[in-house]
Amino acid sequence: MVTAGLALAGAAILVAGTVTIMVAIQRRPYQAEIAPTKGSPGQGVLYAFTLGMAPWAKESARRHWVAYLRGIVFHIIIFVGGLFLIASPWLTEFPSLLRVSLAALFALGAALTFAGFGMRLSDPALRRLSTPDDYFALALVTLFLASGAASAAQIEFLPAFWAISGITMAYVPFGKLRHFLYFFYERAFLGLVFGSRGVLKWKHE
């Protein structure tokens, strides 16, 4: 039960940290586009969160399709991992097929995040620009998914999963993992600015 406490404490830090960051963001000045629009900011935002993220919309994603796909897939798996964490106190009631599937999914996720070490270390530019924060975050997420996989397969690992989840969540507000929150802001800003300028839109002539 100690580890359940750790998970809860981590979750509390995550929530408090997220709120603090949001307040800090909101405190910063923001200059909205106020000139008469050429396009539609609403459409821009919608586009930014949907088609604008489709791999085929970006030459960079086509070029780095492994990295791009890896990113999309493991982020989805992390999201599922979060849901699993919330539901994990009732793990004994999970049908076994679901547990096996989740174990496999999280194992895949762990493998994908672990591969991040290889990608960082093998690319000279990434190696030079990666920070301790990058490696630490990668390690935490890898452990989170690996322990998730283990506990989905074997209930005995659940305390370890909770402990690691707690630490990971607690770290989110302090390092790069907080990008999950900024992601929504960045896409929204992009959509608002480029949408109102008629740059991002469903269909170009």
Binding site: I34, Y68, A125, Y182, E186, L190
Partner: protein, 425 residues
């Protein structure tokens, strides 16, 4: 009192303070969201033309990111190394300045390549502000901004010279049109449009010809549209320089401000000035190419594409295109004015910067850097086989001309307006 160490300390203090103030919501987000994944690497023309780590978008942004974390992040302040931040020194400040001014043209191409949409250009823009405030900006940009202000402060003195010059140009327009009635009105009250040129005659004569043909109600602006303080990211001066134009538009009671073919001048007047004022402008702002497109579509201007049969291509200025959504307007006019139109690949939204943007063409010391960064554009042009390159920005025009010399492209570089005049039916 100003011992060298003291000035250095002051510079660091100013840098820190400015950085703290300039990081708005957009910049903060751009600083925080990057995960150093490298996906944007090849999106930058600098990297494409010379692939090295320093030419990746995230390398540049990371320099500022680390400085910012060292100054302001709760963890970064205690353990800067955790985020890879090193010592904050005077040298770092000048390195940052050089990066922001010479190795990023604020073209925003990387933003669209990034899975998040990190606005590296915004980070570089505030870095330019810090550099300008700490005296690390290129002298010539400061001189050009100051010269623009000097022109306004001595408006009376310059007015006569300007009017003389315009009289000469009016004669040219009359010769071209074969009509002594053709005019270049200056400061004419009640004109519907205030057309704001650049300093050169090539942004006055062809446009005057076209306005006369379309029987437009227009008047020529007293001041040039370009605003070098924008490149310096010097908000106060940039606003001042832009206000010369809005004041004049108010004086002549124009309904519209029409900006010459110039990328940054358009972005500034169309999108930025309202933000600086805190309210929309009381008149419409358009680029001359939007006006020409309208003339062609409405039949006020008849162009004959047979007059230009040489292969022709269009280079999208980043300001007009990616930052302004003006993609089809120039293309429609060019297609009407030239019979063999070809596209570069990629184009429009994904067009590469020519390498001369954001004031770089004016900084002679870095000519080599920008000409090297333009290698990709030169290659793109070559692949089209075009003999005429049209662009709607004077900076691009100058850069592409020099690229042509360096890479032996054998092309002629022109503007939409000039091409239109050449194709008059």
């Amino acid at each position: 009192m100003n011992s060298p160490t003291k000035t250095k300390q002051n510079k660091l203090i100013i840098a820190k303070e400015m950085l703290g103030n300039l990081v708005d919501r957009r910049v903060l987000t751009a600083l925080e969201v990057c995960v150093r994944c490298g996906i944007c690497t090849e999106s930058c023309h600098y990297y494409q033309s010379n692939p090295k780590i320093e030419h990746t978008p995230y390398y540049r942004a990371e320099l500022v990111r680390r400085l910012y974390r060292r100054f302001f992040d709760p963890v970064g302040r205690v353990f800067p190394q955790w985020f890879g931040a090193g010592e904050t020194t005077e040298d770092l400040l000048s390195k940052l300045a050089e990066t922001a001014f010479s190795s990023c043209t604020l073209c925003q191409r990387c933003t669209l390549a990034c899975p998040f949409g990190v606005e590296t250009a915004e980070i570089m823009r505030i870095t330019r502000s810090v550099a300008t405030a700490t005296g690390n900006a290129p002298d010539i940009l400061v001189e050009l901004a100051n010269a623009a202000i000097a022109k306004e402060e001595n408006a009376e003195l310059f007015r006569d010279i300007y009017l003389d010059q315009i009289k000469d140009l009016e004669k040219e327009v009359q010769d071209i049109l074969g009509s002594s009635k053709a005019r270049i009105p200056v400061g004419e009250k009640g004109a519907r449009m205030l057309y704001v040129p650049l300093a050169g005659a090539h942004t006055i004569v062809p446009q005057a010809v076209l306005f006369n043909i379309a029987q437009e109600s227009w008047t020529l602006g007293m001041f040039e549209a370009s605003n070098y303080a924008v490149f310096l990211a010097d908000g106060v001066k940039a606003k001042h320089i832009a206000e010369r134009i809005t004041k004049e538009a108010e004086q002549v009671k124009a309904k519209e401000i029409i900006i010459a073919e110039c990328g940054h001048a358009y972005t500034t007047m169309r999108w930025d000035v309202p933000k600086w004022r805190g309210s929309p402008l009381p008149f419409k702002v358009r680029s001359i190419i939007e006006v020409l497109d309208e003339y062609v579509r409405e039949g006020r201007l008849h162009l004959d594409s047979a007059q230009n049969s040489q292969p022709t291509t269009y280079h999208d200025s980043c300001n007009l295109g990616r930052k302004g959504g003006i993609f089809e307007e120039p293309r429609r006019v060019i297609r009407a004015a030239a019979s063999d139109y070809r596209e570069m690949t990629p184009n429009r939204l994904h067009s590469y910067c020519c390498g001369g943007g954001s004031g770089l063409v004016a900084v002679e010391e870095w000519a080599d850097i920008r000409l090297q960064a333009g290698k990709l554009k030169a290659e793109q042009i070559r692949q089209t086989g075009a003999k005429i390159v049209v662009t709607s920005c004077d900076n691009c025009r100058h850069q592409i001309k020099e690229l042509s010399e360096r890479h032996d492209l054998g092309i002629e570089v022109t503007s939409v307006s000039e091409l239109a005049v050449k194709s008059l039916a």
